[in-house]
């Protein structure tokens, strides 16, 4: 592999890693702060992708589709938290697993009723279509740079939100000691609903942004969900920083594995996870 190929594969890794981070961040926030094991997280990603498909057809404008889609997804997150999830914070993990596993089936069925079972393609907006030539034979698609850009902006925003704002402080306080935070006047119920909606929003944005390069198809949340859990386990449960590092690691191993060891590619990520767990059983950045 020459240097130019290496560089482009590195870009591919980072782009995939950042997308995984968007998903894993929501998953790890919801688990770390509310203690809910959310198997339906992949369904939020799928929902985002299908929303992106419908909205980009309706608006014919990427910015509008992204904006409206994010609002819809966040509203959906609030509604779902209020209707279902808040009743499960105090139940044990098995109940939560059953609830969210059931939700996967419900979302799949709804998806089938609303959008059908075909595979849909989403066009890349004309402005971002095309690729940048990096060497005489290799080029990099502009849309993928755009994807990475969006993910980076959101990652930075998330970091600022959690570590620098008043809301972030309350979120951290609630995660650290719920009762103490509550007695100090923090509205924990509202915090939980916000964090949950934020997680749903992150997953849906990831789905919307990924739709043009990954297609939109039934059950698309399943494989992504497994990767998210791998990222969360490697990074350390509840740690957003851990999720970022782990997602980039998984992106690297997956991309270079596909290219250098194609026959073992689907295994390598799990071997990485096993290795990390042997070395640090709680993940890289357990809080």
């Amino acid at each position: 592999m020459d240097f130019a190929t290496f560089l482009i594969q590195l870009l591919n890794s980072v782009q995939y890693g950042l997308l995984l981070f968007m998903l894993a961040a929501g998953l790890t926030l919801i688990f770390g702060i509310m203690g809910v094991v959310n198997l339906a997280h992949g369904s939020f990603y799928m929902l985002g992708a299908y929303l992106g498909y419908s909205l980009s057809a309706a608006f014919d404008n990427l910015a509008w589709a992204l904006g409206v889609g994010t609002l819809l997804a966040v509203a959906f997150g609030f509604a779902l938290e209020w209707l279902l999830f808040r009743h499960f914070y105090h139940r044990d993990h098995l109940d939560q697993v059953l609830l969210t596993f059931g939700l996967i089936y419900i979302f799949e069925e709804l998806r089938s009723i609303v959008w059908g079972d075909e595979v849909h393609g989403v066009a890349i907006p004309a402005l971002l279509d095309g690729s940048l030539p990096l060497t005489d034979t290799l080029s990099y698609p502009i849309y993928r740079l755009f994807m990475s850009g969006i993910c980076l902006v959101i990652a930075a925003g998330l970091y600022l939100l959690i570590s620098k704002t008043r809301l972030g402080m309350k979120i951290r306080a609630g995660a650290f000691n719920r009762d103490m935070a509550e007695s100090l006047g923090v509205n924990i119920k509202l915090i939980h609903a916000t964090v949950f909606a934020l997680g749903v929003g992150l997953a849906a944005v990831a789905g919307m942004v990924a739709a043009p390069v990954s297609s939109v198809y039934p059950n698309m949340g399943a494989s992504v969900l497994i990767m998210c859990f791998v990222v969360v386990v490697i990074g350390g449960i509840g740690s957003v920083r851990g999720a970022l590092i782990a997602a980039l690691l998984v992106g690297l191993v997956d991309t270079f594995g596909k290219v250098l060891l194609p026959s073992m590619a689907s295994m390598l990520v799990y071997m990485l996870m096993a290795a990390v767990l042997l070395w640090k059983p709680e993940g890289l950045f357990k809080q």
């Binding site: 592999m1 020459d2 130019a4 190929t5 482009i8 594969q9 591919n12 890794s13 782009q15 995939y16 079972d117 075909e118 595979v119 849909h120 393609g121 690729s131 034979t137 290799l138 080029s139 698609p141 993928r144 390069v213 990954s214 297609s215 198809y217 039934p218 494989s223 991309t255 596909k258 290219v259 194609p262 026959s263 590619a265 689907s266």
Partner: protein
């Protein structure tokens, strides 16, 4: 005490024997005046259209012959297999045990076919496969009562290697999903390409049905092979073709594939698909009187255009007619029935084909090129191509 135990154990044995299909089907068959034909096909889900096309084809073939099999009326049964391998055995058993079918026609999904295969081998029911290309069905798990009217997964690509060498591509990269159908397609390609003197410089794979091709396309661009050969199908195929063009490879490195790459997705793939060369046992545009007549009649009967799956269903019907006629509708005359099926010559819209001794079609494989959103036939890649049947022991 002993007698009660005896009665209990005997009736248990009887129920066991009946449920494994040794007794019940033959008892009921003797009483029925009609030939019982069961469809086990996907009628919902991703493959629903394929199931419908196959059933249409079978019915059309039989209707053209007066709607009877060997002079006997037909009673039809249907089970939706949902393309769900875990329900394969259960669904096939429903047709065999509950409906007592004389012949089970199914199915599309290779995983589900493995379930049917088990039931067919256990009960001896006649099984005609109208699509599933899984190698084991006519190789290691072949059976005297299982016949395929479609193809094996390695059959189209078994003709691809030589065609690519003939066009001067000496070094190729192979890319497909890492799952049974992809691996089996690779087997055919590897065999024919290396035999013709070509070198596969790299085999790239990604998990089914993953469509993140970017890293692999970058790798192909860096490897600069003479050509790329692949196996993809359905939505993933359209995506691959588009990504291949978006990565700037179209026009630089020619793309070849098993024919399923360009079946049913040419509208979705658009201009990115122009010029792709594939090999397959059928093409819509096959310029023969037989094919034109078939297409016209199918379009009239079902108000839709037939595809390769309709043809395979049609051929399954023709095969069944030949078998039933040879035994004058007495489907229990198994040795004579199987002999007739083994000796069948099918005058198909895809061209005449015969049955191999491993119960898989010996057929022409066409070379096709995409031109104006159509798979245009540009030649015959292999005449009367058979599958090796490696490991098959009919017993």
């Amino acid at each position: 005490m002993t007698t009660r135990r005896l009665v209990l154990s005997r009736s248990a044995a009887l129920v066991g024997a009946a449920s494994s299909g040794l007794i019940l089907p033959s008892m009921v068959r003797a009483q029925s005046g009609k030939v019982r034909v069961g469809f086990m096909l996907p009628y919902t889900g991703t493959y629903a259209q394929l199931g419908v096309a196959i059933e249409n084809g079978v019915r059309m073939a039989i209707d053209q012959q007066g709607g009877k099999l060997g002079g006997r009326e037909i009673e039809w049964f249907k089970v939706d297999d949902e393309s769900e391998p875990s329900k394969g055995v259960e669904n096939a058993s429903k047709l065999v045990q509950r409906d007592k079918v004389d012949v089970l026609i199914g199915t599309v999904h290779s995983g589900v076919q493995m379930g049917i295969q088990k039931v067919a081998r256990d009960t001896g029911v006649l099984n005609l496969i109208p699509n599933a290309g899984v190698l084991a069905a006519t190789r290691s798990l072949c059976a005297p009562n299982v016949f395929r009217a479609s193809y094996t997964n390695s059959q189209p690509t078994l003709a691809l290697g030589k065609a690519m060498m003939d066009r001067g591509h000496k070094k190729a990269v192979w890319i497909s999903w890492k799952y049974a159908a992809g691996d089996e397609a690779l087997e055919g390609f590897k065999q024919s390409y290396t035999a013709a003197g070509g070198t596969i410089v790299k085999e790239l794979g990604l998990p089914f049905p993953n469509v993140e091709f970017q890293a692999l396309l970058t790798e192909i661009a860096a490897l600069k092979p003479d050509a790329v050969a692949c196996f993809f199908a359905g939505g993933g195929a359209a995506k691959f073709i588009k990504d291949y063009a978006a990565a700037g490879l179209k026009g630089k490195i020619p793309l070849y594939g098993s024919g399923f790459l360009t079946e049913g997705i040419l509208d979705a793939a658009g201009p990115a698909a122009e010029g792709i060369v594939t090999t397959m046992h059928y093409a819509d545009s096959l310029d023969t009187p037989r094919n034109k007549q078939f297409r016209l009649e199918y379009a009239k009967a079902f108000r839709s255009q037939p595809d390769v799956y309709a043809v395979q269903g049609y051929d399954t019907g023709l095969l069944l007619i030949q078998g039933a006629n040879a035994v004058k509708g007495d489907m229990s005359a198994k040795p004579a029935l199987y002999k007739a099926l083994e000796g069948a010559v099918i005058d198909s819209p895809r061209g005449k084909w015969t049955m191999s001794k491993f119960h898989n079609p010996v057929q022409d494989i066409y070379l096709r090129q995409v031109e104006n959103k159509e798979n245009k036939v540009i030649g015959v890649a292999a005449k009367a191509l058979a599958d090796s049947g490696a490991g098959c022991r009919m017993g």
